[in-house]
Symmetry: C2
Subunit: 464 residues, 2 copies
């Protein structure tokens, strides 16, 4: 066996206990919310057929897919020409499988493969890692979890309204209050393009105005002109960046601007229907408590979202006053499964960025202490006698459902206390000769540093 100094691949991470416990707290809130809304879990394999993934993410995406080398003698079926033709050609000869790049394509694949068994509308959530051979940098990893929820097989805009509710519920349950759920509609964007005299150019317009936050109005203007949008159209577009009023007032202004375009009409009708659903549901997202008048839900016509497969409502969520990109986003697509030959399955989905949510909660100090506790009590031992005395005590604590440990060796007190400290164990139980004689054990509260002499039963009722 080699004695190399071990390391992990760049862009990947180990998650130690303290981090896993906090991440699981976030996953738990998300799962419980998804399930309350009728979404059920799906899990797909880490490996997919390379042919299933190829061609779904554009050329650049294809390059970022991690391919798995065929096992055994992968060269056996190759010819010298295959190698001469270069690595792209050779890849297809020596690799048949790859690591999933997102959860959307595996979901589409699952729906197509199981379409005869699935009862539509099919609401599923999926929380699993994905892998991308991106260049690692701060906040960008080669292995990271995605948290998706999608419903396919219905056009009902109740689904969109429920997505707004789920986002609102997850984030408020996590203790966040100052966030904005931006919503827009691809039809509105198409209608805008038509209304400014650039019908069919909404793709270029979206790419440019998507960068408004980053490069500002001047930057967007420059990019639009470079992309061949006319000076006049750009001028007509710019007032839309700063529409004023509440959401319904903005909808009315847009109605006046886009009222004649089919796509614009479709978009506005959908958005009004989402609003109507939220009102009927009496949704808290419409009027964020504690934020006086302001609504958490904001119609933002400059929201474009890059992914080309969206066709209806689109969402994006920002935590305010924190320097962090969007922590959630999604939208409706009309043809998710078309890539596998099953057209006409409309759906809407969204996902949470768990790494970003983690960083935000950490920055704002929002992880509750209850999300961080593992073992509740450590029994310290001094010698064989105190160990023997401690064993049935340990059993009683566990029988009462209290996560507890007996330090497995009669190590120095300092070492045992240090163990409790580092493991963030809130209570230590000390059993010395006096304690054994009286039956009253010392219970030390590690945070406050206080000690009490208590019977085992008293300790149990204190810890429960």
């Amino acid at each position: 066996m080699s004695k190399e100094k071990p390391s992990i691949p760049k862009g990947t991470r180990d998650f130690g206990p303290a981090t896993v416990v906090k991440r699981n707290y976030i996953f738990g809130v998300i799962k419980r919310t998804f399930e309350k809304f009728g979404y059920l879990p799906l899990e797909t394999p880490a490996m997919e057929q390379l042919s299933v993934l190829t061609g779904k993410y554009g050329d650049e995406g294809d390059q970022l897919i991690f391919k798995i080398l065929n096992s055994g003698d992968f060269l056996a079926k190759t010819k010298p020409e295959d190698i001469e033709e270069g690595y792209k050609h050779l890849t297809r000869k020596i690799s048949e499988k790859a690591l999933r790049y997102d959860l959307t394509v595996p979901f589409a694949r699952y729906v197509v493969m199981n379409r005869n068994e699935i009862s539509f509308p099919f609401k599923r959530y999926q929380i699993q890692p994905v892998w991308r051979a991106d260049r690692p940098q701060k906040g960008r990893y080669r292995e990271f979890y995605q948290c998706d929820a999608d419903v396919v097989g219905t056009n009902s805009l109740l689904c969109e309204a429920e997505i707004v509710q789920m986002i609102n519920e997850v984030l408020t349950t996590l203790g966040l209050s100052d966030f904005t759920i931006k919503i827009n509609h691809r039809g509105v964007l198409a209608g805008i393009a038509e209304a400014i005299g650039e019908k069919g150019r909404e793709g270029d317009i979206c790419v440019a105005i998507d960068k408004l936050d980053k490069i500002g109005q001047e930057g967007v203007r420059k990019e639009l002109l470079e992309r061949g949008i006319s000076e006049g159209a750009v001028q007509k577009l710019e007032p839309l960046y700063t529409l004023e009023g509440n959401n319904e007032q903005i909808l009315d202004q847009l109605q006046a601007l886009l009222g004649d375009t089919d796509e614009g009409q479709r978009g506005l009708k959908d958005l009004r229907e989402v609003w109507q659903y939220l009102k009927s549901l009496d949704s808290q997202a419409l009027s964020a408590q504690n934020l006086s008048e302001q609504s958490r839900l904001l119609l933002d016509v400059t929201l474009a979202r890059g992914l080309s497969y969206y066709t209806g409502c689109i969402f994006e969520v920002k935590v305010n006053n924190v320097s962090m990109g969007s922590i959630s986003g999604g939208g409706r697509y009309d043809n998710l499964t078309g890539m596998f030959g099953l057209p006409g399955v409309s759906g809407v989905g969204f996902s949470f960025g768990v790494d970003r949510i983690y960083d935000v909660l950490e920055e704002l100090g929002l992880f509750p202490s209850s999300s961080q506790v593992g073992t509740k009590a450590l029994i310290v031992q001094f010698d064989k006698a105190s160990e023997r005395y401690g064993l049935p005590v340990l059993q009683k604590l566990r029988d009462a459902g209290i996560a507890s440990e007996l330090y497995p060796e009669a190590a120095k007190l300092k070492k045992q206390m240090g163990y409790a400290d580092q493991k963030n164990i809130p209570y230590v139980i000390l059993i010395g000769s006096e304690e054994m004689a009286t039956g009253k054990l010392k219970l030390r509260n590690m945070e406050q540093g206080e000690q009490q002499d208590l019977t085992v039963e008293e300790i149990i009722s204190t810890l429960k």
Copy 2:
């Protein structure tokens, strides 16, 4: 985009909602038990450096590791000679990363990399998938979950006793009662080898007697002789296959047989200490209730377990009267981290085979119905009016913490009921014109087929 018929790689599986929910039930029981005993979760990346994995599983294991093709032009740094030298040589040139093969080596790697931050003894559990390029067959997959718990940095046999307790607790919580936790000790096996005049040959003896269940006493005899164990030694060995009496009586018989061998002494002393701990803990595993006299814990000197790195106690668990291999196993090792240059870290660990446990629970009908429910209530709608009436009802149910859905379209009643049926939703709420007029909604219990007219508040208190 291609329109191929999609499939998944052989040996991998999709887990639909019904299966995920049941698997999560098993994981949940395991996690809660691990945590009650002070074990905390660790997660490592799916990809490891190939150099970290190579050489740890033997030549055959190395072949079964899934390697990941370097991204970008993986041929750029290869020379024509590299290709001529064959695929094994070429693999090292075009692949630097691989999928983890088990959770033990990544754990050892983690301990070595973080040894200065970890407070020992370090108790971690890890529940993650592993990948092996084995030939797929019934019950053997290329992607499957392992569920490991290990404690490193202590020699205390309390850890072994607690492992017996954890196995017992997990399985009984899952509703299993008729199972046997077999225990043995590598020292006992070495002592036996010495006592029958084949000192140092315990490796060969273990490999052979490990197959006793499969090939019987005659088969083992043949294999032992083939492996060069003498006729006389085999004869001395055979009475050990059928030692009679309870565990303590067996220990006494072994004491007489192995009393003179150092290794045998060590093994028997350790085993007696484990027993002593379990007695002090008043462990239920020692005397299985409902099984009259029989203990669930069984000292079995024919238990060998293949893995060569075990050095102390070894465990294996069988569910009785079910044709299924062992569902859990483990043991103590003295030099886990030695492979990465950190010697002297003793530890003991074990794991659960979740796929097998799943199949056993399915076969015995032990999944509780509560482990299978997602959505609790579906509101059926007939038209826009009943939808509008249903929306605040839906909200009230969810506000009360009841997982519920409103069918998102006014589809035919049969379709909506079929949806509830297939999704295993236990209650359906029907809102027709009469219900809207009276405020009493129809609550249908899907299993019993009974209907009641109830107010929303009455429905909530029924469902909670």
